[in-house]
Amino acid sequence: MAKKQIRDIIYGFIELDEQELEIINHPVFQRLRRIRQLAFTDMLYPGACHTRFEHSLGVMQMATYMYDHIVDKHGKALEDFLHINNTGVDFALEKEKARKIIRLAALLHDVGHAPFSHSGEELMPYHDESKNTRYKHEDYSIKAIEEYFSDIIKSDTTTNLKISVDDVTSLLGKKGVRGAGGLHFSLKEIISSQLDADRADYLLRDSAHIGVDYGKYDMWRLINSVTLAKGEGGTLVFAIAYKGLQVAESLIIARYHMFHQVYYHKVRRIYDYHAGEALKEVLPLIGHKDATFPPPTQIADYMELDDWTVLGAINSNSDAKHCGILQNRLHYKLEDETNDPPTHDDIKRFTRYEDNYKDKEHHIYRIGEIYKGDKKASLWYKPYGIHILEGNGALVELESKSALVQSLIREPQKLALYLPRPEEENRGQG
């Protein structure tokens, strides 16, 4: 099977086979070249212009490194756990198949991302009106894989691995998937967990592009420290070997710093707001009257949307308030913010702001569930589910072994008031 190597900023080269090349050459995958990884973070860090396309390739590479290490070191444990000897399954073939499924799931995990990445997710339609639950980009990824990539996944005749689309989507959170199980499913945490290849890649990649060192950690130490251990229920679970405690700590520290310095930086936060508002301004102008993205059932319409189409509409509508703000970098300025956590006086002050500004342009950014704020903030760097395997075989949570991690994992709670710049107010009045 012909292979191709692609240069990569993190791994040097990423190797793809014919099937994977067919996937990345598909127009729906090429769309990821037109979705930037960090939306408008370049307003703060000009280097942050990388895309979901290169991140997707990177996650596939990282997932492969993790898979190869685990299967090399723990193949026997997996073989025993899966009772391979009793089933007549060819374990060599099973390993090859699982490796391929994990590579495909990693490669395709973000194929359903919205324009402006996470900044646009508030405009995904409700999945269930009564529950107030919106579709997530994962729902679009699963639908896109089923709609556009199933033939490519199933047509891998050269290896005869007989991979189904459900094999791939079962690793990406497809609900109610039938037939789930097997070696690849036992290693689902490579694709979806606190230690997954997605997080491991984006910390390194975002740091490299932005030009900060905060997100860097010892990648090879991490890969070589991932292991399998018996969980509470006797099932094999993902863990970090005790020798890798320090790299697990450094991963949490990297996430902590990237959280504060990049993902939740005061300028980045307000551009997430402006991006969402600008989308509301332009979506009705490009065929989406209710200013929301089409649901996954209308995947073809959804796939028409990317950063380019939306930016084109923003460029043509710079008289609209938030379009103009994005075009001219006239974001609202941070007027005031609370301590973390807010004091009693902070709360009183912000309660007054809500009253004083209720008829005026403003934005109050909330971090922390207690304020009905951004739920993701509390999960960015919290190590829920990261296990350390001690020398005696005990499986313990990372925070119980690390005073350093314990000191970092308090949920951030903060309120911040942003107001338009005077010149922007003047522009609006003119």
């Binding site: 109610g176 036992s186 999960l379």
Partner: protein, 175 residues
């Protein structure tokens, strides 16, 4: 009571009624509360080889601990397996919630379950719901699928647990 408070109060109430429940048990009890007893906890459970899982449950447990509603202690279960025991603080008093009866029922059915059995029962319920969405399936296929996810159980162990859950109407209530 908002969603965050509801989740934390459920952690406390489950820990109160099922003294020493492990984290696996807490995860699966929350799954049963939502899926079988239709309590609107808004969790988004996904299936792993250790059964339905949503890390937001661990967030609620963590928050309950920080508010000193519960205590968490490491426990050695033997055979190289360790885990965490969740204990409600005795001096905390909460009024019984509207869902108290459901928690009593979960406690009655599952209180003597090990983490391994919690995982099996919740995996059976998860797949039962999934299979039920499609009319074209049979019960043997379901058992075999459970075994593919949890191969450390025999097919007869899976069938026995499935029938047990059927007899208690846990499966029919879940759909």
């Amino acid at each position: 009571m908002d969603k965050v408070e509801l989740r934390e109060s459920m952690v406390f109430e489950i820990a109160s009624k099922m003294g020493g429940i492990g984290k696996t048990g807490m995860m699966k009890a929350m799954y049963f509360l939502q899926q079988v007893y239709k309590v609107s906890l808004d969790y988004d459970f996904n299936i792993y080889n250790y059964g339905p899982f949503d890390e937001d449950v661990l967030v609620a447990v963590d928050c309950a601990k920080k508010k000193e509603l519960i205590d968490i202690q490491l426990k050695d279960y033997g055979d190289g397996i360790s885990g965490y025991e969740i204990i409600a603080k005795e001096d905390m008093q909460f009024p019984a919630s509207a869902y108290s009866g459901f928690i009593d029922e979960i406690s009655r059915i599952f209180s003597d379950y090990t983490a391994k059995k919690w995982e099996l029962a919740s995996t059976i319920v998860y797949l039962y719901v999934a299979y039920h969405e499609n009319p074209d399936w049979d019960i043997n296929e379901l058992d075999e699928n459970v075994m593919r996810i949890k191969p450390h159980f025999t097919i007869s162990e899976i069938e026995k647990e499935r029938k047990h859950l059927e007899s208690l109407e846990v499966l029919s209530k879940a759909i």
